[in-house]
């Protein structure tokens, strides 16, 4: 007996191979589907002449997927990285903002400790700082001041600096909503580093994602069995490609459903089914929060936003306001002479100059990884608790909202791969089963 004449219940090799083909379709569909979720991080593709004109007229649905059509290009960007900014925005609305305002985050970072750290770092730099600032403003005038007088000025600045720094951190805490926009900060950061969005899923769901790819094989195989009977009953060439569409589509649909549904655990006989990612809310919350605490809402990022963000002018004005009196006291009676010599306006500018120089110098110590890790622990804990306490549907929305608009394309891609599989089977075995 040759292989070609081998039959089971009257079905030959060509027929028996159908479930294997559909299983492979299912596997490849889910594998490429997951690839499409995460890769590539940046858009890859080419500008198509003339597309820029048609692009805006295309249906909204098509424009929304990360094919680049709306920009007159054709290519691909991973669904999740392309939605990173949106994911960040939703994460703030659903998770972070319910914790309270920017003030809460600021408090969690223990501003007192940060002030103490800044004081330790900045204090030894005071002589240099004052010297540079005054020289930059007044040049020769400062050179004529006797060394002893200079040192006494520097010492006074050093003495008053800790209190001034503490006043600055307290005032930032009081007005943090006017100085910091946590949501915009998260959105910017995620847009800048889309890999952070990928990490939320990849670090949490390594095992689940592998399982979905394998499940593609199983679903494809199971769906291929009734297809054998269908092909025997309707021996037409179009049956296989058509069934391929359905199988590819359904396999991808099942994969997405398996990740997010059911939202609440459901018992079916001896089994409890629950969305693969939703079931792991406890761990996902932990990892999601750690990414936010380590990469987004860190001391370094917050300080950078305070000093360079859209509201940084307010922070800088506040710092200048606090440091100017320090300079006043330090210069003591000399300030009257100085004011008379350079004019009141220029004298105020000197305060601003010192403030500018000291804030520029504060960024380096605030970027210290060890400090960031230590202060980040509190934010991490707060976020994790909050995300764990979300209801399952809320949590699912947090994860799914970013990709919801693109899911149809994943299904379509499954269908397209199904057609290819069906045609391939036809090419190998023909219509006869």
């Amino acid at each position: 007996m040759t292989i070609a004449s081998f039959t089971v219940l009257g079905v030959g090799v060509a027929g028996l191979s159908i479930p294997l083909f559909t299983a492979v379709i299912g596997y490849v569909t889910n594998w490429t589907g997951i690839w499409m979720l995460f890769s590539p991080l940046e858009f890859r593709g080419a500008r198509i002449p003339g597309l820029a004109r048609i692009g805006p007229a295309l249906p909204r649905r098509l424009r929304l997927v990360p094919l680049g059509l709306a920009e007159g290009r054709l290519g691909w960007q991973g669904i999740i990285p392309s939605r990173a900014a949106k994911m960040g925005s939703i994460a703030v609305d659903k998770g972070l903002s319910r914790l309270g305002g920017a003030a809460d985050f600021y408090r969690q970072l223990q501003p007192d400790e940060i002030a103490a750290r800044l004081e330790r770092e900045l204090s030894p730099q005071v002589p240099e700082l004052v010297d540079e600032a005054i020289r930059a403003r007044y040049g020769g005038l400062w050179d004529r001041v006797p060394a002893g007088a200079k040192r006494s000025i520097e010492r006074r600045v050093q003495d008053e600096l800790p209190a001034a720094l503490r006043r600055v951190t307290v005032r930032i805490g009081d007005d943090v909503d006017e100085l910091l926009d946590i949501k915009l900060m998260v959105i910017r950061r995620m847009a800048e580093r889309p890999q952070l969005a990928n990490r939320v899923f990849q670090e949490v769901g390594e095992r689940e994602l592998q399982m979905i790819i394998r499940l593609g094989f199983v679903f494809g195989f199971v769906l291929g069995i009734p297809l054998v009977a269908l092909v025997s009953a309707v021996p037409q060439w179009w049956v296989l490609p058509l069934a391929g569409i359905v199988i590819g589509w359904v396999t991808n649909w099942l994969a997405i459903e398996a990740i997010f549904s059911p939202l609440e655990p459901r018992r079916i006989g001896p089994l409890t089914v629950h969305g693969l990612f939703i079931r792991r809310q406890h761990d996902v919350a932990e990892i999601y929060s750690s990414i936010i605490a380590e990469e987004v809402l860190t001391v370094e990022r917050l300080a950078d936003d305070l000093l360079h963000g859209p509201k940084s002018d307010r922070t800088r004005a506040m710092i200048a306001e606090e440091l100017e009196p320090v300079l006043d006291h330090a210069l003591g009676s000399a300030r009257i002479a100085l004011k008379a010599a350079v004019g009141a306006g220029d004298y105020a500018a000197l305060g601003a100059e010192i403030a500018r120089r000291s804030t520029a110098r504060s960024l380096a110590p605030l970027a210290d990884p060890e400090l960031n890790a230590r202060q980040g622990v509190h934010i991490h804990r707060m976020l994790t608790e909050r995300m764990r306490s979300l209801s399952h549907p809320e949590f699912a929305e947090l994860l799914r909202a970013a990709m919801k608009e693109d899911e149809w394309l994943l299904l379509l891609h499954g269908g397209a791969l199904g057609v290819v599989g069906g045609l391939l089977h036809l090419a190998v075995f023909g219509t006869h089963v």
Binding site: A52, K86, D93, D181
Partner: protein, 215 residues
């Protein structure tokens, strides 16, 4: 005055300035004595002044208008003074409005959208959310401020306006469309998002240039 128009170009400026001062004096006199001999000034604007409404303030406005025309009739206005329109505009601009002006001047047009809901079978539409934008927030204005009020004010001043043409690409709208207020408005019914952009008017662009904002 006719002599000014025919004077050589290089002289025109100085003569105009001199003539301007003289004319202003004459006009002031005219205000006090509407029927005085200065009526024979021979300019249409002065006639309009005397023929103006009889109400107490009417004559004052007429004179101010005449002064404007007089100012505009000077061939060269090289006195280095800032454009009076921009100066007044700047006086009316709020501090938060200034932040939005800066954002629009330096960052270019900003995404904006309306949410419209289809009503009934006839296809009528109702706007449930108008002019949603993150530009005000991006500009870093005070949190207590209602963004719609600030935008209204900028529109009233003629500095910024909404334009129906959307920005190219999806990127700019992605985050805006995910905002809770947009999501809430979409839940009202069969919603349609209408993408627009918030732009500076030509006047707004002039103001931005005049105050030294660069794109």
């Amino acid at each position: 005055m006719i002599a000014i128009a025919t004077a050589p170009l290089d002289l025109a400026g100085s003569v105009a300035r001199w003539g301007g001062r003289g004319l202003r004096r004459q006009l002031r006199a005219l205000l006090d004595e509407p029927t005085g001999p200065e009526r024979a000034l021979g300019t249409g604007t002065a006639d309009a002044c005397t023929a103006g409404p009889a109400g107490p303030g009417g004559g004052g406005l007429g004179a101010r208008f005449a002064a404007l025309l007089e100012q505009s009739s000077r061939v060269a206005r090289d006195d280095g003074a800032p454009d009076p329109v921009l100066g007044r505009l700047l006086e009316q601009l709020s501090p938060d409005g200034a932040r939005v002006l800066r954002l629009l001047a330096e960052g270019g047009p900003q995404p904006m959208l309306d949410v419209r809901v289809r009503e009934g079978l006839r296809g009528g539409e109702r706007t449930v959310l108008a002019d949603a934008t993150m530009a005000v927030r991006e500009a870093g204005v005070r949190t207590a401020l209602d963004p719609a009020v600030l935008l209204d004010d900028l529109r009233r001043l003629g500095i910024a306006t909404a334009c129906d043409e959307p920005l190219p690409g999806d990127g700019p709208y992605e985050v805006l469309e995910a905002q809770p207020e947009v999501a809430l408005a979409r839940r009202v019914g069969r919603a349609r998002l209408v993408r627009k952009r918030l732009v500076l008017t030509p006047l707004g662009r002039d103001l931005a240039r005049a105050v030294g904002l660069a794109p």
